[in-house]
Amino acid sequence: MMDTLTQTTLSNGLKVLLKEIHTAPIISSWVWYRVGSRDEVQGRTGISHWVEHMQFKGTDQFPANVLDKSISREGGSWNAFTYIDWTAYFETMPADKIDLALRLESDRMVNSRFDTNEVASERTVIISEREGNENEPLFRLGEVLQQTAFRIHPYHHEVIGDMADLRVITREDLYDHYNAFYVPNNAVMAVAGDFDTKTMLARIKELFEPIPAGSEPARLAREEPPQNGEIRLSVEGPGETTYVQVCYRFPNAAHPDFFPLSVLDSLLAGPSNLNMFSGGISNKTSRLYRALVDKELAVSVQGGAQATIDPFLYTISMTIHPKRKPEEALAALDREIKRAKEEKVLKEEINRAIKQARALFAYGSENITNQGFWLGYSEMFADYNWFQTYLDKLSAVTVKDIRRVANEYFGPQSRVVGTYAPTNGRP
């Protein structure tokens, strides 16, 4: 069945994407802001995520205790996410209740209160969130890897922010950040589901167009210089399990090489699932699983590519077999990388990656929320056309492309290798 897609930009710069889908009486409404941890300086790390939390603390029209109840009362599901590049808010509601979500989002684009007491209580909530993250060995390792891989670029720090900054960021800091970035010309509105486009667009205009455009938010322009030589690091922590993560530098999502690299990722580690609301598939016949897990050097291996605005990282994570050493797993990984650089992949392997991607797309399209997600998500790092032509672009990948990108992006001189070494009860 054909779904109707409409794209337009309001007079205040708010980009609107609407996709009618009449399979269930449900509508998913998303507002995306081009703000994330890449827009944060030292001393203010974690501020975008904290602003996201404050967006649930109320406006005059929807005070905090009214806001969360009103969505739940109507049977809606809602949440928000802060990433390195963006912050997104969604409500998925029974179709006849969606107006509440539209009113709420237009209101909190400009009218959030940032009450001082609420800022204080949210400070400890976010510190608690960070403490929960710190319980996880892979968070501890990942944080150090990321800050090592990005010395200059603001991808340096985790979205949650550094504890030192979480303790001192003020209400004024938060409010300034909100005012600078939460302007219609820095946002994308995406709605998918059971509506009539003309009516929906009219209502969005009515609610959002009166919001004046703001100044174009200033961006940090701190490009990461090339890395000259492999960096190795280790982090110690509780437990008895050793983890190794290897990060290679990947291009941004809009770069043409992103597609051959996605195919290569499928071959190496199983397809990365870019859907937010739909699970992926196993990777037990990927090259790295065969070389590492089947050979009992690791008990699991995962690879993950992420679609980002600036060049980011491709991370391979290994949980080391209890009887093996991290160097043995790393040597096996290196053999596989070498193979990808030197040997031709088979056309069948590419076809297989395409079929996997096609299946993951089909699973993602079962769900209206996920469809709403894709409309706006792809706008954050490219445009919706990126999503619509994704499978075609994968299909165009050649055996030669794979070999070229393997050589170009998987060099040892630009990778960071990190080990989580368990203390095994040692203090």
Binding site: K69, G76, V125, G237, P271, E296, R358, A362, N367
Partner: protein
């Protein structure tokens, strides 16, 4: 969207196809041609309840091993066929039942079914694969030992279900996993695996009759003589006073805290009023009253919520929170106070109305994906709810009165007889 259209979206006798095969297998299917994909999931009677104490983790080991090799295909071959078409299939063990879940493009449903039937009927448990798996399971247990949430949950079950099989972790202990032999697995499979008690749901871009025909071809011929069943559950001894335990895990920055008690079984008449009460207590909006007190007002935790776990046997009704180790006492105090208020005052008319609207309104959302519908079909079958359950759901929710919630809260929650588990530094 008019109400007639809304109701049509809910599964019911008109669009759920149900068939019982001569060998006892129950098939449930429902079509959805909106996406070219299909979900297949189900359960069968070979859960962890059957594990002897000294072989705890056996049922779990068996489910993990089913796809490690069959008479027809090797481990690598099985996954090669699945992954080549972007499909997935996996098994997992529960206490009473074990389950499976898979998905594929509709064109590959037959492959999913063939692999399911081979894994269930003819697993070979190759020795080399068993050892690889054992190392993976042991690593999983080492990771569990460091996970404050997992460990709090394990300790909580040990307190609440003391002397009852529900007190045991399904994934066993390192020493039991270490000692399991290939023969243990083979024997467990031989005794407990069979078509009796197997329920399979298929939802997606396939006609019900066609799905049923494919299931029959794959599993209709399965016969097992003398398939053993699980023993009766022993009676549960309720707590006589509050019991607290702190499991130490050094080097962690956050502790997990669980405070709770026994909850109703799924088939108990109080299930719906408990479910509604629980939503008010620790779910609604930003995690209900518990979230309001612990997170919003005190800023003590990122997550603080309550949940009800109701199945075939006695369930649990618990509050979970992740807090700084220094705040465990303070958070526990606030949570126990909320439980007291809950059993003393019950819920207000407004709270009840809000939650009813929430339950009714969110139903279509929970049923929008194939996986959601498959779960709903399995839920109907497992707890004998009737094929029209989701169409009657609104009425069932609306029947619940304030006094029902209060009586149910008082029946199950005694703030002086709680299980309190903490895992962290």
């Amino acid at each position: 969207m008019n109400m007639a259209g809304y109701n049509l979206a809910l599964p019911g006798p008109d669009d759920i196809y149900r068939e019982v095969l001569p060998n006892g297998i129950v098939i449930l299917t429902r079509s959805n041609f909106n996406s070219p994909s299909v979900v297949m999931s189900g359960y069968f009677s070979a859960g962890a309840l059957l594990d002897p104490n000294e072989k705890l983790g056996l049922a779990d080991f068996v489910t993990s091993a089913l796809m490690r090799g069959t008479k027809k295909r090797s481990f690598d071959k099985i996954y090669n066929e699945l992954e080549a078409v972007g499909a997935s299939l996996g098994f997992s063990s529960g206490v009473h039942k074990s389950g499976f879940s898979g998905r594929s493009l509709a064109e590959d449903l037959l492959l999913l079914l063939n692999l399911l039937s081979e894994a269930l009927m003819t697993p070979t448990f190759p020795k080399a694969e068993m050892e690889k798996l054992r190392a993976q399971l042991l690593t999983g247990l080492a990771i569990r030992a460091q996970d404050t949430s997992d460990m709090a949950s394990m300790v909580f079950d040990q307190i609440l279900f003391k002397g009852h099989p529900y007190s045991r972790p399904e994934d066993g202990y390192p020493e039991t996993i270490q000692n399991l032999t290939r023969w243990d697995l083979v024997k467990f499979h031989r005794e407990y695996y069979g078509p009796l008690g197997l329920v399979i749901a298929i939802v997606g871009a396939v006609k019900p009759e066609e799905a049923a025909r494919q299931v029959k071809r794959a599993l209709g011929g399965w016969q097992v003589k003398g398939q053993k069943e699980a023993p009766e559950l022993p009676a549960l001894k309720p707590l006589k006073k509050t019991v607290s335990k702190h499991h130490r895990i050094a080097g962690k920055s956050q502790s997990d805290l669980i405070i709770g008690t026994n909850g109703p079984m799924r088939r108990d008449p109080e299930f719906m009023s408990a479910s509604i009460g629980n939503n008010i207590l620790g779910q609604f909006g930003m995690m209900g009253r518990i979230g309001d007190v612990v997170r919003e007002k005190s800023g003590l935790a990122y997550y603080a919520y309550s949940s009800l776990s109701a199945g075939i046997g006695p369930g649990s009704w618990e509050v979970n929170a992740g807090v700084n180790p220094q705040n465990v006492k303070k958070a526990s105090g606030l949570i126990v106070d909320e439980l007291k208020r809950f059993v003393q005052e019950g819920v207000t008319a407004d709270e009840l109305a809000d939650t009813k609207a929430n339950f009714i309104g969110r139903l279509p959302l929970s049923l929008e994906s194939n996986g959601g519908v498959a779960n709903a079909l399995l839920n109907i079958e497992r707890h004998n709810l009737g094929l029209d359950y989701y169409q009657r759901y609104e009425g069932l929710v609306n029947e619940v009165r304030q006094e029902d919630v209060l009586n149910t809260a008082r029946k199950f929650i005694d703030p002086d007889k709680l299980a309190i588990a903490v895992a962290g530094p």
